[in-house]
Amino acid sequence: MGQKPSDSNDKGGGFERKEAPEVVRDEELMLNYQSGSHEAFEEIFGRYRGRLFRFIAIRAGSSKEHLSEEVFQKTWLKIHTHRHSFNPTFKLSTWIYTIALNALRDEVGSAHERAQFEELEEELLEPIYQEDWFQRNELSEKITGALKEISEKQREAVLLMNIEGFTSKEAALLMGLTDSAVRQLLFRAHQNLKRILSQVGSVEE
């Protein structure tokens, strides 16, 4: 603690990365933040700003840059306002992503905006092309196309667990489902993806 904010994924952007003598757990930092330490907040902000922005941007859609920025701001302000409600027995990342998801849902709360959001869903996977883990090759295009074919919940399970790296328990908390329901969703999503990809000749049955 006490160091400048850092983000393992950040490249520049004004935040220097310094090696901490020992890694302080997120939850411990949060406890310090709850008691008013701005150094703790700066560290949490440094750790999460990049991945939280990506998490939001992927869901908001590439054409709605301002939406990502608004939700990003809203999420941090909500984190600050509700910081005393954080229970340190839970993971900080889950708590933060839940706030982000709720903020995103608020933005698409009205019927009109939901309709617009559905249009955005078409572009949902567009930013994936720009991530390291999906190279611009034929297979990634097919996977992206296949992901569009499966249901929204199945896609969310794939994004959270296979791409964001959440465990099934964490994904369950974020999606408001049970652990087994999420694992079942992921299983079905994988089966559907496999079926769709085999139809387009990318994966053997």
Partner: protein, 243 residues
Amino acid sequence: MASQNIIDPPKELSDSILKAITGALMEEKVPKRKRYFKVLFATLFTSLVMGLTLFFTFGATLNWIVAGAFIFWAFCLLVGFTLYFHPQPRLIVPGLFSPLVFARLILVSTLALAAQILICPSFVYLESPLPWNPLEGITRALMDQGGMLLCMSFCGFFFSFVSGLVGVGSIHKVLKGRLIYRLPKIAAVLFVTQIPLIWVQAMTPSLVEFLPPFIGGSVLGILVSFFLNFAIEMLRSHRSSIV
């Protein structure tokens, strides 16, 4: 879009959030009595300026009813400044109704309403001392055309329209594209700041019967100011999309 844009939040955005939240944490460390002092000082100073202006303007015709209205407005200012000085991230985000936003709406609409009394030539029969009054001609024309009924409707409309236009305009960034969903909340705040005017009329026997047209005009004024703000916002977003 460049990949950097989607992967990293813009630096200015990160900086503004970081600054706002660390600033809020610093504010929390300031002793409460220091904050209460600030609230009290700001309220007293603004009330004094408002009160003195009204006193020197209408000194001879001021009565306890008008004084009651003034006290209510002073209370509105107290609420506004309490919300304003509450420790919080000083960041206005579209769609987020923070205490800062409410403070701005309450303070701006209260001051706008109070200032309008100065240019209303016949409000509760108070004589406006201003050498040139932009509303005098309109009032005369309305009195000739529809008598007190029309004049009071216009009075309610004008007061709420101007305070709505200025008040809502002061928080337009929060309402970006969402004005219609926030209408009840904002209309409630604007209506509360109008209570002193309603109070004065309700307590003045000769004006009681004209209270319904005044309130009707007020509601219409709020709606029209909303519509105008909405149109301005649409125009702004249309222009920015063209650019």
